[in-house]
């Protein structure tokens, strides 16, 4: 029944999907945290930049960003991502770049809303007992903020997993591209689709369940 799978590297394609997800997740966590720091910080210019970045990137389709990294950045401006000779690696890295730039806007918003859930009274009380800024931040505000941010960040991670399929637009050999190819060449449309749907359910559902459970467990009850 499943002999149509022969000759296709199904696991390899899903492995590319996972790699795209993890690398972009790390990248967008770093850049998203920086953006969040800018948006909640006291410097007006940085706040303005953070707001501008998030509002711009959130409103552009990911497809446009990914296509731009390939057609605009790479083919027009000659950005090679350190892989000028290897087209495949180059497109993979460009996809990671695009996904990172896009996802970090959502990471930033998740973190910022986490900080905003901490009641002002907490920080005021901390200052009242004589803690300085660093102590207020590391002992009182951030521990509470991190706990309430697990759930929203899990949502972002799941969305990122699904969003990696857009890399198919610039020919990165991940799951959606293989699915397209297989459907064109083989006759079993329903079965092939079921296999890929099952693969994505396997990737996203456990992440959601586990992180959702963790998020509920660590969240501060108010």
């Amino acid at each position: 029944m499943f002999d149509f799978l022969e000759g296709y590297d199904l696991l390899g394609a899903f492995w590319v999907t996972i790699q795209l997800t993890l690398l972009s997740a790390v990248g967008s966590l770093v850049w998203g945290t920086l953006l969040a720091a800018m948006r909640v910080g006291p410097v007006p210019l940085m706040r303005g930049f953070g707001t501008f970045y998030v509002n711009t990137v959130r409103n552009i389709p990911l497809t446009v960003i990914i296509l731009f990294t390939s057609l605009g950045l790479s083919q027009t401006l000659g950005v090679t991502m350190g892989a000028a000779d290897n087209f495949e690696t180059q497109n993979f890295r460009l996809a990671v770049l695009g996904l990172t730039l896009y996802t970090s806007a959502f990471v930033c918003e998740a973190l910022r809303s986490g900080i905003n859930t901490v009641p002002v009274g907490q920080a005021e009380a901390a200052r009242a007992i004589g803690l300085n800024f660093t102590q207020v931040l590391t002992l009182v505000v951030l521990p509470q903020a991190f706990r309430s941010v697990v759930g929203p960040l899990a949502n972002v991670l799941i969305a990122l997993t699904k969003n990696t399929t857009v890399a198919a637009a610039i020919g990165v050999a991940e799951a959606a591209l293989l699915m397209k190819e297989m459907i064109e060449n083989e006759a079993q449309l329903i079965l092939i689709s079921a296999v890929f749907a099952f693969g994505f359910v396997c990737l996203t559902l456990p992440t959601g369940l586990i992180l959702g459970w963790v998020g509920k467990k660590v969240a501060v009850k108010r």
Partner: protein, 300 residues
Amino acid sequence: MSSVLYDAQGPRAKRRNVVFTVGFLIALAAVLWWVFSALEDKQQLEWAKWEPFFHTEAWSTYIWPGLQNTLKAAALAMVIALPLGAVLGISRLSDHVWVRVPAGIIVEFFRAIPVLVLMIFGLALYSEYTNISTEDRPLYAVVTGLVLYNAAVLAEIVRAGILALPKGQSEAAMAIGLRKGQVMRTILLPQAVTAMLPAIVSQTVVIVKDTALGGGVLTFSDLIAAVSPMSSYYGANIIASFTVVGLIFIAINFALTTFASWLERRLRRGKKSTGAVLDPNDASISGTMGTGAGGGVGGI
């Protein structure tokens, strides 16, 4: 300006702010200079490459037809997905296990799968089992994918909106002798709809963005698909074309987002509307709207 993190600032903090501002300005200027010189280097800043967008030809030949298709797909998807999502969301709240569980499975399944996979499936399905013409097929596939995914997301929004209502509402309705259907139709839904409106409008942003997949991966002739022919016709003005297309998307979605937050503020202020009833639960509602926007994140 004070927040959770810091108090109103004194002279020392203000001086430090100035230092940060200057440092950040320098970094920003360096990046902008790098971008500018890269563009200049590849002749992307020539007036000839940007000029076409100041004439009607580019708009009437490439952009407007593409934009029309984008908006058409988004509108169709929203109109079909909304009732489907409402039915699914209400089914998930049913008292009968045989209604609740299948609805739950459908919703969780379609939320777990990328829209693109659904679109690819739709495209192949229509070419194999129907005789929809080749040029119409991508539109059908895009709308199918969007409907399946967004119906599931909207179902969650509807469910959360109904669950966020105070329990007293349905209890009081049942106490005066209304039946289950009547309680849902006349008491819960009207209140939930107003509470859900901002989340639904935000979901429209996701739908508009997701239509771009049709042009990017399938052969749907939308705004994205217009970029390639447009830039090759006007002499490789890729950067200019992407800028214009990006700005159009930003304009549409920014308008929708602003509308959504205006609605939210208005509903929150509302005195006569059910907003007043919902007030104590505002935190939990906006929380679920967060997941609605999480679904928003789920979009592409």
